[in-house]
Subunit: 226 residues, 2 copies
């Protein structure tokens, strides 16, 4: 479809704006998981409020990206990489929004137990490492969005394997001579799973970048037309 | 964009095919949660295999819908309701695929404990009701996809509230004089959450139908252009 040159320039600038908003959202998601971990490990009630506010920010940003993306799809009728970018923007913003919700689940669980800790002290170190890995994957997803480097994206799965390993360690601790009662066990299992799901969504963002750049879906392996 | 009449007829038929595939996927997701519940409550290993196979079917169907949808977006450059339908098809198929994964998490948890039950007998009834509600919401989402009735979609949230109530009942059972050990507690908490997430995704499908029909996102309330 032939467009006037000015329209095309404007569209390129609109696409850059959408991408910039996605970069902002992944940054907000990283902040949210760090705030949630502060709420969990430092019993910091201010961090609980901060996590909730970051989740709200992600919700608002998602709505705005959806609105803008639908508008561009309808008006510009993009093809190829531009189409993949816009369709993926919907998925990436939903991933970020979900990451915010998961971070908020963590800080809410911490808040429910306050002023007692939600998890036993001896497991703090594992949760600290889960936070490190989750933040690193989210940061990696953000960098991948900026560089569009499919190789960077693929590397994030190594960190994702590390997250799976940490979750297995948690579950082993739950069955081996657990002495902290049922409520702490349930907290550890659910919170561990929230970190793991957070990381999965961050890896999903990087996989969307691979799809934008190569038209290939990692894992499922089928090429996409468009 | 003016298209030859024949192309438009073909496109209408393509859109109907996409919608029919989504109806099939929601039906498969309903089957998957029922199979998972059979694996969980009847300790049926055949149901474990069935759930895994239904999850795979959902994965394959999602890949096929993504392929077809991207193709149609690129070739037909749809606007308005057709555009919303295609963009939502990606989200709905991802919801169904995730519902399959959650069902599979349930049956895998059951299988890990086999031949012992994964959950205490006295909680079977609550899980049976969670299965009822989850299946009902998934069936409702499928009907909504067929009828395009936004009111039907809105009604599903009442069932979703019932699911939240059942999950709260489970969590109360975990803190009130729990006598079944830590592993069962962790199973109950995680499996309960899988049912609840399954229902959330089914409600999400119905919300996508509202968006397709009205251009409004329920809950977030912002109108969408396109």
């Amino acid at each position: 479809m032939i467009q006037p040159e000015v329209g095309r320039l404007e569209f390129a600038s609109d696409l850059r704006m959408v991408r910039a908003s996605l970069v902002t959202m992944t940054k907000t998601a990283s902040k949210a998981i760090r705030a949630a971990t502060t709420a969990l490990l430092d019993l910091d009630q201010e961090a609980v409020r901060m996590t909730a506010s970051l989740e709200q920010e992600l919700e608002d940003d998602m709505v705005e990206i959806e609105r803008r993306t639908h508008h561009l799809l309808a008006r510009q009728q993009p093809v190829a990489g531009d189409l993949r970018m816009l369709v993926s923007a919907l998925k990436i913003s939903a991933d970020c929004r979900r990451m915010g919700a998961l971070a908020n689940h963590i800080s809410t669980a911490a808040s429910r137990c306050y002023p007692a800790p939600a998890i036993p002290d001896e497991l703090s170190e594992i949760f600290r490492r889960m936070d490190d890995v989750a933040s690193r994957i989210a940061d990696g997803a953000r960098i991948t969005l900026t560089t569009s480097d499919a190789l960077d994206a693929a590397r994030l799965e190594i960190d994702d394997d590390a997250m799976d390993g940490l979750l297995r360690t948690l579950f082993r601790a739950l069955v081996d001579n657990w002495s902290h009662g049922v409520e702490a066990a349930v907290n550890v299992a659910l919170i561990g799973r929230y970190y793991e799901r957070f990381a999965d969504h961050a890896v999903g963002i990087a996989q969307s970048v691979i799809f934008i750049e190569t038209a290939m879906r990692p894992h499922v392996g089928a090429p996409h037309v468009g």
